[in-house]
């Protein structure tokens, strides 16, 4: 009862959109495709839906090969990032459309349409045309149409990206509730790390048409397998700088300090240090282990401050709780605790994570 994607490759106009993607989806689970724009998320979903033909590879659902099967015979539903509905149908007819094609009798159809509409909270709008709905309601309608089909595989391509912040939060909460009870395989794509974490489920990190890490959301977030994943899965992206490990000491950005516990046992040599933005703190007192940079940009949102500063030819980002505006060009003294940092080898593969040894110790 699985949905499998085997060695899918897709090239368009000499450009590689997907390369050798192999994934297996279990029913009843939620999968979140995370990647930047152009990472191949949409292409992968389109190939999975059958809207785009892959150059190589096969799709298998419950043991049957789907690769050449027409879209309308497949057991899938698809939601676009644009709000796509049938403009000339009312909300009711929009939701009923997939059921009518299945030849469902009137009473059962009516019950299902109303249940789906209630699930996404548009049951009071059934007589309207899509153009008379707000953006959020239009996307709810598209989701209702996808849900009512009760397809084995539900694909959502950045469904919340065109909504404003409040609506997005609201609809995301609704989606989590809807997906939790379902038996379908849900594949959900997003560019936002926070959204991937909030949705939970299995995160599939994509970059340049390849899958680079798969695992439960929190686990992938805690153990990014490479600097690439760390950049994609942290917002703002993780600071990655060169460092060198020798014996029991680590040296980075001109600072030489004791190698923290979780990094002990790594092979001495040149490595990369991943510093999560929230692990950088303003220096409390003047010490030798401080980093002194110049602020290039300071962004303040409601509850936190992002300070971008320059040090040693590298752009750093620090995340602070609370509102602490700092003028551009001002001096910025910070301390970095290597105990909260990731260690990657020179090619970007993960060597040590801050959580792992600590949790073992505890």
């Amino acid at each position: 009862m699985t949905f499998e994607i085997n060695n899918i490759g897709c090239k368009v106009g000499g450009e590689t959109w997907l390369e050798d993607v192999t994934l297996s989806f279990e029913p009843g689970n939620l999968y979140v495709l995370l990647g930047r724009t152009g990472a191949g998320k949409t292409s992968l979903l389109r190939v999975a839906a059958g809207l785009q033909r892959p150059d190589r590879g096969t799709l298998v659902h419950n043991g049957t090969d789907l690769t050449g099967m027409p879209v309308r015979r497949r057991d899938i539903a698809f939601v676009y990032q644009q709000f796509v509905n049938y403009p000339s149908f009312t909300v009711y007819d929009n939701i009923a459309a997939p059921l009518r094609r299945k030849g469902m009798d009137r009473a059962a159809l009516d019950a299902k349409v109303r249940t789906a509409a209630r699930m996404v909270r548009i049951d009071h709008l059934l007589d309207r045309l899509p153009q008379n709905l707000s953006g959020g309601q239009q996307q709810r309608l598209a989701i209702a149409r996808a849900l009512v089909k009760e397809a084995g595989v539900l694909l959502l391509d950045e469904p919340l990206v065109n909504l404003d912040y409040k609506l997005r939060e609201e609809l995301r909460a609704d989606l989590r509730r809807i997906f939790r009870g379902g038996e379908a395989t849900v594949v959900y794509s997003t560019t936002e790390p926070d959204e991937a974490l909030q949705m939970g489920g299995t995160t599939i990190v994509m970059d340049e048409g390849r899958v680079i890490q798969v695992g439960p959301a929190a686990e992938v977030h805690a153990n990014p397998c490479s600097t690439k994943v760390a950049e994609i899965f942290y917002d703002p992206p993780m600071n990655v700088i060169r460092c060198s490990v020798s014996g029991s000491m680590i040296e980075f950005a001109g600072i030489r300090t004791a190698l923290p516990r979780h990094m002990q046992g790594s092979v001495p040599g040149s490595c990369l240090l991943g510093v999560p933005p929230h692990r950088i703190r303003p220096a409390a007192s003047r010490e030798a282990e401080d980093l002194c940079g110049r602020v290039s940009l300071c962004e303040v949102d409601g509850s936190g401050t992002f300070v971008h500063f320059e040090h040693g030819g590298h752009e750093w980002v620090m995340k602070r709780d609370g509102v602490h505006p700092q003028p551009t060009g001002s001096e910025c003294r910070v301390t970095i605790d290597p105990a909260g940092c990731f260690l990657f080898d020179a090619s970007g593969q993960l060597l040590a994570t801050p959580g792992s040894r600590q949790s073992e110790a505890a």
Partner: protein, 291 residues
Amino acid sequence: MTMQTQTSAQPAPGIASRLKGSALSSRAIGPILLGLYLCFQMLPIYWLVRMSLMQPGDIMSSSAFLPTAPSFDNYRTIFTDPAWYMSYVNSLSYVALNVVITLSVALPAAYAFSRYKFIGDKHVFFWLFTNRMAPPAVFLLPFFQLYSAVGLFDTPLAVALAHCLFNVPLAVWILEGFMSGVPREIDETAYVDGYSFPRFFLTVFLPLVRAGIGVTAFFCFMFSWVELLLAKTLTSIEAKPIVVAMTRTVSASGLDWGLLAAAGVLTILPGAAVIYFVRNYIAKGFALGRV
């Protein structure tokens, strides 16, 4: 302080009223010019209506602005004489046939051009349009010979088919523009939802381009209705269209100005009626749907 403000405030109303005056006059120029333009435009049509209400003798002798001794005799003649009213029926039947044929051919063609990429698609699309650049006279002889050979000569179908020559390319162009305005995602969603192509096309897609279909039908109607050369050559007695009936009356029974004018008025009416129905979409149609 108050004195000062008063003195400085005083000139203001004068300026304001002068500004207002010039604004008024410039605002009046537009309607006046447009009114004049409309008069010049409508004058020949008014003259036609005036003549259609008069007797032949009066037309030649009177140049009064209002018709002298107006009567509907001319119209009565047209509606009672089969030679006249049947030519209207002929015209309408080949125009309607032409619209039906053109739309049923152009709708799938336009969909293909707007949705699919195939080798030479742009060239074929352009070639279609070049058909409109050839004068219909070029095709007169082959059409005449061909239709005579297959027994289509002097039937409404002959004219309807001949008019497809210039109407189909135009229809494909206009419809392609309208269809490209419909997001491709709607097609894909329909397939995902289980629609077959014909059902999707008829129940989902056509309602979305109905404005385009209306505009296209109007253009086909218009070009087919006013075309004289092909209509005249491909018909003789049975399927004689109104435009031909009018030209033949001139030579056959002397010059019955009043009757001719009445026929002219009746020829304008269907076009005016159709324009009324698509008035909101005409601009978009002229832009070939690419607005």
